[in-house]
Chain length 204, copies 4
Amino acid sequence: MGIEIASTVKDPERIRERREQIIQASVELFTQKGFHKTTTREIARASGLSNGALYEYVKSKEDVLYLVCRHIHQEIHERLADSLSSHERAVERLRHAVASFLSVIRDMEDEVLLIYQESKSLPHHYLREVLQNEQAITDIFVQLLQDGLQDKSIQLSAEDIPLVAHDVIVLGQLWAFRRWALRDMEFSEFVSQQTEMILRACRP
Amino acid sequence: MGIEIASTVKDPERIRERREQIIQASVELFTQKGFHKTTTREIARASGLSNGALYEYVKSKEDVLYLVCRHIHQEIHERLADSLSSHERAVERLRHAVASFLSVIRDMEDEVLLIYQESKSLPHHYLREVLQNEQAITDIFVQLLQDGLQDKSIQLSAEDIPLVAHDVIVLGQLWAFRRWALRDMEFSEFVSQQTEMILRACRP
Amino acid sequence: MGIEIASTVKDPERIRERREQIIQASVELFTQKGFHKTTTREIARASGLSNGALYEYVKSKEDVLYLVCRHIHQEIHERLADSLSSHERAVERLRHAVASFLSVIRDMEDEVLLIYQESKSLPHHYLREVLQNEQAITDIFVQLLQDGLQDKSIQLSAEDIPLVAHDVIVLGQLWAFRRWALRDMEFSEFVSQQTEMILRACRP
Amino acid sequence: MGIEIASTVKDPERIRERREQIIQASVELFTQKGFHKTTTREIARASGLSNGALYEYVKSKEDVLYLVCRHIHQEIHERLADSLSSHERAVERLRHAVASFLSVIRDMEDEVLLIYQESKSLPHHYLREVLQNEQAITDIFVQLLQDGLQDKSIQLSAEDIPLVAHDVIVLGQLWAFRRWALRDMEFSEFVSQQTEMILRACRP
DNA sequence: AATGAATGAGTATTCATTCAT
DNA sequence: AATGAATGAATACTCATTCAT
């Protein structure tokens, strides 16, 4: 899944493990210092690898950024997908999904910000992939909205759905990238307001 | 207004002109290549200045970034403020303000993105200032919402207003930073959907 | 006296005045920060001149250093020459000269150090001149020693005189360039010890 | 011994070797062109290292200067200490030490000058160390003079000893930093005169 | 597979000097 | 005579990447 990254190492399991280390270390570093101000030496050291070993699992610093972005998206996607409820009415499933999504955003504030701020440094082919992953998350809400259309628990014209789905995403991400403006707000308050905002869009 | 940036040049008019050149050139460069990948040489050359002259108007590369961010915010703020209508009912003034804001975002897509992606590279004291400017823009909508509360054309609990104002901002900026997902959408379509979304939040 | 330094300014009196300012400012700056770490801008500013005006009275930064070195030597030479006493016996005149010389060194510690540490940065033709000035000061002691030979108040073989004169100089300058080692020593103590050292060399 | 200088290289033996190269090259360069006019590129190239490799063995240009000064002092100290004779009477040991010291100064003219002229460019903590090393050399003579006091072969009041020791040093260094004035003098002549001067100070 | 030393291109910034006004 | 803006060469230091061992 995603773009294959070349490695000089044969054992796939070892590759998996080492890249796991690299990703853990890099998320930490990138969120703290930013991609450009993090050196590959720092990445190697924090990953428990030597300078040279790093380049056996990755061909460039940009590869690391891609791995990190992909990993973050995977985690968000997975957590969101896992939380999907099985209420009968789609609108209820949506309400739950929004709540879950907001929780994920809260837990992964720094990571969400990281993707927004650093993904522009990705080579084009990686960026495309990353945007697809972002879309895949959005599509979860697209699906829920379509379900709602079907079961009539949501009132929207079909062509409005894509944008509404994006709206859901950014209304959630707001918690991450306007955090500086929301210092005093309780997360629960945020959840109820944003949920209300979104659900209003789904009523006639 | 804003943080004073030292210059070795005495003539204030000349400083204004040259910094104007620097800003124009840098917006272009930063939006195309990003702040880190742009060199000061490129900035100087594109500004029509020599390497040395650049540093007579600015003390560091970060100064340039701050000037750029401030400039962008000023332009957005000004255009938005100028467009405020004088309808009797606040809700109408809000509707117009949203429309204007979205136009501004459309015109300044790259600049909006620039601030989101590069402002993290600012030294702390500059960043604070930049965030204040972002807040100042948000406050325009805070004011409109409060007006609406007053004249009863908007129904919201007072404590919800700040977040709604931020919602307005990100629902607008969405056009800029999720542009890749909206390739097929007409701007007018975007405007009407987002306006609807926002106004729904203001009704009982 | 000394090497003529070109100037684009005609009025010799004005040149004298301005260079006086330049020298005063530069002695201060060079002793504090060293020649290399002092910029011509600083020199100009501290001299009360504009950047450009500085270069009307001097052709290069090295010119300034030369002016400074010459000025220091002139002052030392003058103060030493002025203090020469008229005792009948040369050995007494020598004793007084040594005392005067040590006073001058004490008063001009920083300047003496400056010449030792920075004169190597002078272009060759200036350096030669500066060394001649240093020699001229030494020659005052050469003369006194020769006088002593003549009047028999000093016992030395004639060929030893030049080196003894240099010894006098460095035994005096020691106060300046090993100051860090003499923190606890009274100047008067220094004077009496060094005088004794020198006079012993002049006895049979 | 001395201040530890950080290196990114692990193998201590390699560090020793490379720094040796760096020191050799830098003594040459610094004595010829001075510290400020020598570039780090020149240092690297003359050391047989790449630009980057230089900075694996040293963190700054000032580090190189410190290494050079320390090396010079070490060599002087070692050669002087090694030459100490075992004559019964301290005054004889002193005479020999002076002769050895003067030989060392002659062999290391440029290096002695280098320390005098460039050590002011050292960061404070390095300068302190360098002055301590200079003092350590002086202390060898302090010790000899004290021995002489003990065995009565030298007549001095105890409190005069420190300054006399410094006198010995500068009377020796004179050969290095007033070389321009001593072009015609035989070194042997210099030795006998300075030795005589010093020994006279030690007699009643 | 791993190490870590080596490479060298790249970059922000400074500053002596010039020159149009 | 004076100003001060402009120039552009120069330079210490960094860091992604390679490669011998």
